[in-house]
C-alpha cells in the first residue's frame, strides 16, 4: 500500500523553481530517504507534504486522502503527519513530557507519553526542560513527540545534521530502529549520501526539483541511472569507452556489453570494484595512497596516463611506484549523452 503519493508537483520561489514535476511514492511502513545536493528541493517537498507550504501545481495523497491538490488543502493540523525538524523545534517553555504529550488528546496522554519515552530510551526524563538535554536526547524527544499522536507518516528534515560525528552514527541506527519498532512510514531528507544509504529502505535521489532515481539503496548504488547519480551517491571512476556489439573497449580493458548502442560511451566503475594485483612490469603504476585503517584508497595511473581510484582492504600494502595489473568486477555503461 502506498502511504504517500506526490504527483507532478511544481513550486517556484520568485523565479527559482524549487520543484518541477516532482513525483514520489512512499510504500507503507518503509523508510524513504530523499537525498540530493542543497537547493535540489528536498526540504520544499517535505514542507509541502506536511502542509507548511503550498504547491503551485500537483497533488499529495496520504493514505487514501488527498491532502492538497484538486481544490483541497487540508491544514497541517489535520494531516496526521509527524514532523521532526532540523533544529528539533522543542517548545522551550515546556517540559519534555509536555512536549511529547502536546499532540495527544485526552485521557491516554500520560500513558502514551510514557510509552514513547520508553521507545526512544529516555524513560525518566519527562520532567526535564529541553535545554537541559544533550543534542542526541533532544533529537530523541523530537522523534518521540512526532510519534506520540500515532501519525500516518513521519517526516524528518535533515535529522542528524545538528549532531557531531560520533553521535550521528549512533543516532542513525537508533532512529531506524525506533521507526521500525513504531511501524512508521517515514520520509527523511538529507544531503549526506552515506546517511541516505544506511538508514533508508528506499532511496530517492533528487536533482533540480525532481526525483531522478528511486530504489533500494544497494540497487541505486550499484546501478545508478546516469553519471551524476553515480558520483552523487559515492566515489566513482568514469572512463571513456567505445561500444561495439557485445563489448566495450576502455583504457581499463574491454568489458562485455549487453546494450545495443554502439560508438562512444562512458563506463562508471566504483573504486572498490577495481582490484590492483602486484605485478612487476604490470601496465599500471601506484601513484599515491591514502590509508584509512579499515581500508585504503589508491591512486593508480594507467598506461595511457589517466588516473583511477581503487579502494581495497588494509592489505596488501602497495607503495607509490609499485607496478600493478588491474581487475574490474563490476561496471556500468552510460551512453555519452547521459551526462547532464
Amino acid at each position: 500500500m502506498t502511504a504517500i503519493h506526490c504527483h507532478d508537483i511544481d513550486r517556484a520561489f520568485g523565479g527559482i523553481k524549487a520543484l518541477e514535476g516532482f513525483e514520489l511514492s512512499v510504500p507503507s511502513g518503509s523508510i524513504v530517504s530523499l537525498v540530493g545536493p542543497s537547493g535540489s528541493g528536498k526540504t520544499t517537498a517535505l514542507r509541502i507534504i506536511a502542509g507548511f507550504d503550498l504547491p503551485d501545481r500537483g497533488s499529495v495523497t496520504i493514505g487514501d486522502r488527498t491532502v492538497v491538490g484538486n481544490g483541497t488543502n487540508i491544514p497541517p493540523e489535520r494531516r496526521r503527519v509527524g514532523m521532526v525538524f532540523q533544529d528539533y523545534a522543542l517548545f522551550p517553555h515546556m517540559t519534555v513530557g509536555a512536549n511529547i504529550g502536546y499532540g495527544v488528546d485526552g485521557a491516554d496522554c500520560e500513558e502514551r507519553t510514557r510509552s514513547v519515552l520508553e521507545l526512544v530510551g529516555l524513560t525518566g526524563l519527562a520532567n526535564r526542560m529541553p535545554h537541559e538535554l544533550s543534542g542526541g536526547e533532544q533529537q530523541r524527544v523530537a522523534l518521540a513527540r512526532a510519534l506520540a499522536p500515532e501519525p500516518d507518516v513521519v517526516l524528518l528534515d535533515e535529522p542528524f545534521s545538528n549532531l557531531d560525528a560520533p553521535q550521528r552514527e549512533k543516532m542513525r541506527r537508533d532512529v531506524r530502529r525506533i521507526l521500525k519498532e513504531a511501524g512508521a512510514t517515514a520520509v527523511f531528507v538529507t544531503h549526506d549520501q552515506s546517511e541516505a544509504l544506511s538508514v533508508a529502505d528506499v532511496v530517492a535521489v533528487m536533482r533540480e526539483g525532481r526525483v531522478v532515481q528511486t530504489g533500494p539503496p544497494h540497487v541505486v548504488y550499484a546501478t545508478p541511472k546516469d553519471p551524476w547519480v553515480a558520483s552523487f551517491l559515492g566515489d566513482s571512476v568514469l572512463v571513456d569507452g567505445t561500444a561495439a556489439v557485445g563489448q566495450v573497449e576502455t583504457a581499463l580493458g574491454s568489458f562485455p556489453h549487453r546494450g545495443g548502442d554502439t560508438g562512444p560511451v562512458e563506463v562508471m566503475i566504483r573504486p572498490e570494484w577495481i582490484h590492483p594485483y602486484p605485478e612487476p612490469g604490470g601496465p599500471a603504476v601506484v601513484v599515491d595512497r591514502e590509508f584509512y585503517g579499515h581500508d585504503q584508497m589508491l591512486l593508480i595511473e594507467l598506461s595511457t596516463g589517466q588516473r583511477v581510484q581503487s579502494r581495497i582492504g588494509p592489505r596488501p600494502i602497495l607503495e607509490p611506484g609499485d607496478r600493478v595489473s588491474l581487475g574490474v568486477d563490476e561496471f556500468v555503461v552510460f551512453p555519452t549523452n547521459a551526462r547532464a
Binding site: G14, P76, Q86, G103, R207, P227, F232, L238
Partner: protein
C-alpha cells in the same frame, strides 16, 4: 580518451535564497481583523478631520491662509530647527565621548546622560520656570534676580534637554557598529582627530542621525506641555487655546490638519532619504578601542557630560524638591492627590493592556506574513505614533461628538486612543521578541494537531511574553507622561498626575505642581526599572 575522477563538491545545484522561501499562506482573516480594529478609532477620525476641513466654510479657509497661520508655521519651524540642531550636536558629542573615548565609568555616564528621557518635557519646563525669575529658586538662593525663562529660549532649552537623549541613544548604538578601524585608517593616512571624525565617522553616522533628527523634530512639533508652560505660541498651544476658548471649533480643526500635514511631510521626507542612504552596519570584528584624551580634553569631556546630567536631571529634580519644601514651609497644603495617582495608574494600565493585546496580531502579521499589506500595517502604526497627539485627539473629539455620542468623554475611548497612539512601542518589542522565535516551533505545533489560534495561545504568546510585557511597560510609561490627549479626551472629573502638574504649573502654583511631578516620577520609575534592569534586550 579521458579518465575522470569526480568528487562530490562540484555538483550543480542552485541555492534557493532563504528570503524567498516564505510560505505563501494568507494570514487568517481574524488575525487581520484583530490587527486593524485598534487603529480604526484613530485613523477614521483623522480621515474625518480632513473631510470636515475640506468641507468647511470660507471663513475656515481664511484661517488657513491668514498671516497668523504663516506666523505659526514660522515659529514652529524655528523651534523645530533650533531644538533639532542643538539636540543633534549635544547627542552626537555625548555619544562619541561615551563610545569612542577612554572615559572612566563610561557605562555609568551612559545611563546618567540618557536619564532626562524619564522626565516629561513639561516637568523640565516647570523646573526651569520655578528656578528662574525674580521669585525663583536661583534668585532666592543667590540674590541674583534672573529674568524668567519663558518664550522661545525656555521652550528651546526644555525641549533640547528632553530630546537629546534620543539622539544620544540612537547614535551611540550606531557608533558601536562602526568599525573603529575606519578612524584608525584615516589617522594612518594623516587625518587625525577632528578631521577623521568629520570625514570618516560622521558620514557613516548620517543614517542614524537622520532617524534621530526626525524623532526630535516630530517630538518638538508635537510637544504641548513645555511650549504651553513657556507660553510660546506654536501650533499645539494655539490649537489648544482655539479649541478650549472658542465656540467655533473649525479653526482648531484647520490648524490640526495643517499640523498633521507638516508631520506627514517630515515622516515621508525621512523615509525617502533613508531609502537612498547607505547603511554601514558592519559589525566590528574586534573589541572596540577607546581613544585616550589629553588631560585638558578629558576635563572638558567630564565637564560637558556632567553639565548635561546637572541640567537634565539634577537641577529639575532638585528644583522640584526645593519647591515642595518651600511650599510646606510656607504652610501651603500639599498632599498627595490619590485620585490623580489612581487615575494615572488605571488609565496607563488599561492602555498598556490594550496595546499588548493589539500588538500580538500585528507582530504575527508583520513577522510571519511579511508582505506589502503588512508593511502598510506597520507604517500606519508608526505614523499614528508619530502624528502630533493633540491633533489626533482633536480629530477623535470631532468624530466622537458627532458619531459616538455616549463614548465621548468616556474612559473607554480615552484608553483606546492611548493604546492606538502608543501601539508602535508595544509592537516594536513584540516584533523583536517574535523574530527570536523559530517559526518551526509554530509549525511543530500545527503538525501536532493544533489549529493556528491554539498555536498562537499555547506556543507563540508564551514565548514572546517577556517582549510583550516590555512593550506594555513602555506604553504604561508613555501614557503616564501623556498630556494633551488626556486634557482633551478625559471624562469630566477624571484626573491624572500629568494633568495635575500641568494645570498647577499653568496657574503658577509651583509647589503643588512640583509635588505632583515628583509623585509622577516615582510611579514612572517602576516600569523604568523593569525596562532598564529586567528586560533590556527587548527595548530597541
Amino acid at each position: 580518451m579521458t579518465v575522470q575522477i569526480e568528487g562530490r563538491d562540484d555538483l550543480p545545484g542552485a541555492k534557493t535564497p532563504a528570503a524567498t522561501r516564505r510560505p505563501r499562506f494568507r494570514a487568517p482573516w481574524w488575525l487581520w481583523a484583530a490587527a486593524v480594529v485598534i487603529l480604526i478609532p484613530v485613523l477614521v477620525p483623522i480621515a474625518g478631520l480632513f473631510v470636515r476641513v475640506l468641507a468647511a466654510s470660507d471663513s475656515a479657509w481664511n484661517t488657513l491662509f491668514s498671516p497668523r497661520t504663516a506666523e505659526l508655521i514660522a515659529r514652529s519651524a524655528l523651534l523645530v530647527t533650533a531644538v533639532t540642531a542643538s539636540a543633534l550636536a549635544i547627542g552626537v558629542a555625548a555619544a562619541w565621548l561615551g563610545v569612542r573615548t577612554a572615559l572612566r565609568w563610561s557605562n555609568v555616564w551612559g545611563v546618567l546622560v540618557a536619564m532626562p528621557l524619564v522626565i516629561p518635557s513639561y516637568v523640565i519646563a516647570l523646573s526651569y520656570l520655578a528656578a528662574s525669575g525674580p521669585r525663583g529658586l536661583i534668585a532666592d538662593a543667590t540674590g541674583i534676580g534672573l529674568p524668567v525663562l519663558t518664550g522661545f529660549p525656555g521652550a528651546w532649552l526644555a525641549l533640547t534637554l528632553a530630546t537629546y537623549p534620543y539622539v544620544f541613544l540612537i547614535t551611540a548604538a550606531s557608533l558601536r557598529r562602526i568599525d573603529p578601524a575606519f578612524e584608525e585608517a584615516a589617522a594612518g593616512l594623516g587625518a587625525g582627530g577632528w578631521r577623521a571624525f568629520r570625514t570618516v565617522t560622521l558620514p557613516q553616522l548620517r543614517p542614524a542621525m537622520g532617524t534621530a533628527a526626525l524623532l526630535v523634530g516630530l517630538y518638538t512639533l508635537s510637544d504641548f506641555g513645555s511650549v504651553s508652560l513657556m507660553r510660546y505660541d506654536v501650533f499645539t498651544r494655539v490649537i489648544y487655546s482655539q479649541y478650549s476658548g472658542r465656540l467655533d471649533r473649525t479653526p482648531a480643526a484647520v490648524l490640526s490638519m495643517v499640523l498633521i500635514l507638516i508631520a506627514l511631510l517630515l515622516i515621508i521626507g525621512e523615509e525617502r532619504t533613508r531609502g537612498r542612504a547607505t547603511y554601514y552596519s558592519r559589525r566590528p570584528n574586534r573589541a572596540p578601542t577607546h581613544r585616550p584624551l589629553r588631560p585638558t580634553a578629558r576635563a572638558g569631556a567630564y565637564a560637558f557630560l556632567g553639565s548635561l546630567v546637572v541640567l537634565g536631571v539634577l537641577l529639575p529634580v532638585g528644583v522640584l524638591i526645593a519647591w515642595v519644601v518651600r511650599g510646606l514651609e510656607a504652610g501651603e497644603s500639599i498632599r498627595i492627590d490619590w485620585a490623580a495617582v489612581g487615575g494615572s495608574i488605571v488609565a496607563s494600565t488599561l492602555a498598556a493592556l490594550i496595546a499588548m493585546a493589539a500588538a500580538v496580531p500585528i507582530a504575527v502579521l508583520t513577522v510571519r506574513y511579511a508582505g506589502r499589506s503588512t508593511r502598510w500595517l506597520q507604517r500606519s502604526v508608526y505614523v499614528t505614533f508619530s502624528l502630533p497627539h493633540i491633533a489626533v485627539a482633536l480629530a477623535v473629539v470631532f468624530f466622537a461628538v458627532n458619531f459616538l455620542g455616549p463614548l465621548y468623554q468616556s474612559l473607554a475611548l480615552l484608553v483606546v486612543v492611548y493604546a492606538a497612539i502608543f501601539l508602535a512601542q508595544a509592537t516594536g518589542s513584540a516584533e523583536a521578541a517574535l523574530r527570536q522565535v523559530n517559526p518551526s516551533l509554530e509549525e511543530a505545533s500545527r503538525s501536532l494537531g493544533r489549529s493556528a489560534l491554539a498555536t498562537l495561545t499555547s506556543i507563540t504568546i508564551p514565548l514572546i511574553w517577556k517582549g510583550l510585557l516590555a512593550g506594555g511597560a513602555l506604553v504604561f510609561l508613555t501614557t503616564m507622561k501623556e498630556l494633551p490627549v488626556t486634557l482633551i479626551l478625559r471624562p469630566t472629573g477624571f484626573d491624572t498626575l500629568a494633568i495635575r502638574v500641568w494645570s498647577a504649573a499653568d496657574e503658577l502654583f509651583y509647589a503643588r505642581a512640583a509635588a505632583s511631578a515628583l509623585v509622577l516620577l516615582l510611579v514612572a520609575a517602576v516600569p523604568m526599572y523593569f525596562l532598564a534592569i529586567r528586560n533590556r534586550e527587548y527595548v530597541s
